[in-house]
Symmetry: C2
Amino acid sequence: MAMIGNVTRWPADAAGRLKEAALVLFAERGFDAVTVGDIAQAAGVTERTFFRYFADKREVLFADQGAYQAHFLDALARSEATAPMELVAAALHGGAEFFTDQRRPEAKVRRRVIESSPALRERESLKRAALAEALTAALIARGIPSVSASLAAESGSAAFSVALTGWLAAPDERAFADVLDDALGELRTLLG
Amino acid sequence: MAMIGNVTRWPADAAGRLKEAALVLFAERGFDAVTVGDIAQAAGVTERTFFRYFADKREVLFADQGAYQAHFLDALARSEATAPMELVAAALHGGAEFFTDQRRPEAKVRRRVIESSPALRERESLKRAALAEALTAALIARGIPSVSASLAAESGSAAFSVALTGWLAAPDERAFADVLDDALGELRTLLG
């Protein structure tokens, strides 16, 4: 577990152990060189158990997508704003809660693994597009016209993505929410 | 060829005939039901000829991607603007030249085919992401800092996508460039 900072706990649940073992092995040996059998063995379970939780070894890296997306949508639902970009900013700050300082070492390793493989980059790109679509749908459900909803969700999602890259690359330890505010401010400046 | 408006010409080159035949067959029978053999037969060539031009039947729908992307990048290269969003607007108006009124019927059929298949929607989403990345890289090469470059390219690309959907769905016959200007104006309003 040394790859992931000082995290020494070993998750009690099989899915958690599989996710952590996969990330460590991908980072150490490269994504293509690791088999499902390797991951299962490292997590102390059978391959059959692996496939009970994940469709393939790629999916292990994206298993948190549902919980991740819920952070954005729950925050949007709680917001009492009416302007599209204010609703989007509320959603993005909900998503920002996912990227705690504690999660940064693991997020850095995950990013490095994803960047190393075109197939993983594709999957990441599609998950990001799916999030923007979910935000667009949520805005439309709040009565925002579809053109405004789409533009607000897509440009906000771009700001989030830029902020995430900055947060992961930065040598300092700024909170993700602050980096996100900078990106949203820069977007306003560019379009002002 | 009745599916695609009143286009009655039949391209002289094999690749052009294959593209046109594929689009007509996909629209008539559904993407999943059409084989490479069907497309080759309809275009009057062999399967072997099909595979000389395209990797698979999905790729027929995305074969113009290089020429498409060049419209954006050439216009960006020609622009003498220095502000990131002005450079992006110039690039998008270059891309808009691809969507002539003459091309609208074919573009509508293509959109309908793509919307009908999750695999095609994924491919379209990835091509769009690749375009935004290419625009980001071109802006960085022009001296724009990477955060601004990425935000300008991504939000501009969102405006282009919204404009394209609007142009294809609209019952009227507005020029694409006008629909695009509306989308860029709306983006400025949202973020102003």
